[in-house]
Assembly symmetry: C3
Homo-oligomer: 132 residues x 3
Amino acid sequence: MPLIRLTVPDHLPPAPVRALADAVHQALVDCCGVPVADRFILITRLAGQNMLFDPHYPNVTRSADACVVDITLLGGRTPEQKQRLYRHIAAGAQQAGLRADDVLVALSENSAIDWSLGRGLSFEAANAAHTA
Amino acid sequence: MPLIRLTVPDHLPPAPVRALADAVHQALVDCCGVPVADRFILITRLAGQNMLFDPHYPNVTRSADACVVDITLLGGRTPEQKQRLYRHIAAGAQQAGLRADDVLVALSENSAIDWSLGRGLSFEAANAAHTA
Amino acid sequence: MPLIRLTVPDHLPPAPVRALADAVHQALVDCCGVPVADRFILITRLAGQNMLFDPHYPNVTRSADACVVDITLLGGRTPEQKQRLYRHIAAGAQQAGLRADDVLVALSENSAIDWSLGRGLSFEAANAAHTA
């Protein structure tokens, strides 16, 4: 039920982009209690001229490979969980061959009732039907 | 003032995608009190490799046609309205020739002051000017 | 830390789109206390058939050039700041050669802990490290 949206420059090859996507999901599993199977990722590739980032704000050095990781997730994670999440995403990005300075993460929170994962049921109703 | 964002696989023909878009808007009208004319929809088509979804979580069977319906809307709708919204969207998707399991919906709420529908005015100011 | 997402019809030439992007960022600087260097903009171009807007709601006249400006930003701006922001964005759009009726703005708020601008650190932790 997190929905992960990656926006990446279109010159990046598929392999590091896919590795970054996998790393973001794994970080959510490891740091935020997201089930492994709860995996929903959208990847948008944009031309560099359509990604306008300050090269240094607040105190980093961004390259032309800079990516945005935008995650909509259930509210309730603690500041400590979110800080750990950022560290794990950055470590995963580096393993994917990207630079930690090139990963911007933005979280937006909503509630369980704000999700339907299919079948016309809210997530809560689907889960109740499943476990009944 | 809901802003509807559909993200669909690029192999889907235009007709079912447009029918899904219309169905989502109609569901908002029927279940959430959205005016018929209040219609703002963005449709993004992505290659299948850029839409990474678990095939079964939590208890559905997704196909390669799976779509994301992401709606930013005013806060205040009840859980019952949202559940009804999901049912209507799923029914509309089926009428569009899609499978109910292939429609993921995520809602994000904001406030009236968070919208300007044009002319440099907040929605509330525009409405006040309109009805004054 | 605002993340600005422009969605524009693909027939618009690059110059007015870039001018609109600059105007939105400048409006955030002028009206919402955003630092000049705090600049993160993603621009998505869509075919007209994938941008479905009511031509008049609530009381404007939209053309085929209508654009969506979607901003995720820290919560806490006042209604007066947001109204001023809309006026500045509309004025900037007009200077960019666009019509004020063709700019829809939607704001979504989050918190400082919801941002990492790089290096695996939350924004607050990065700032603390920077000023320590």
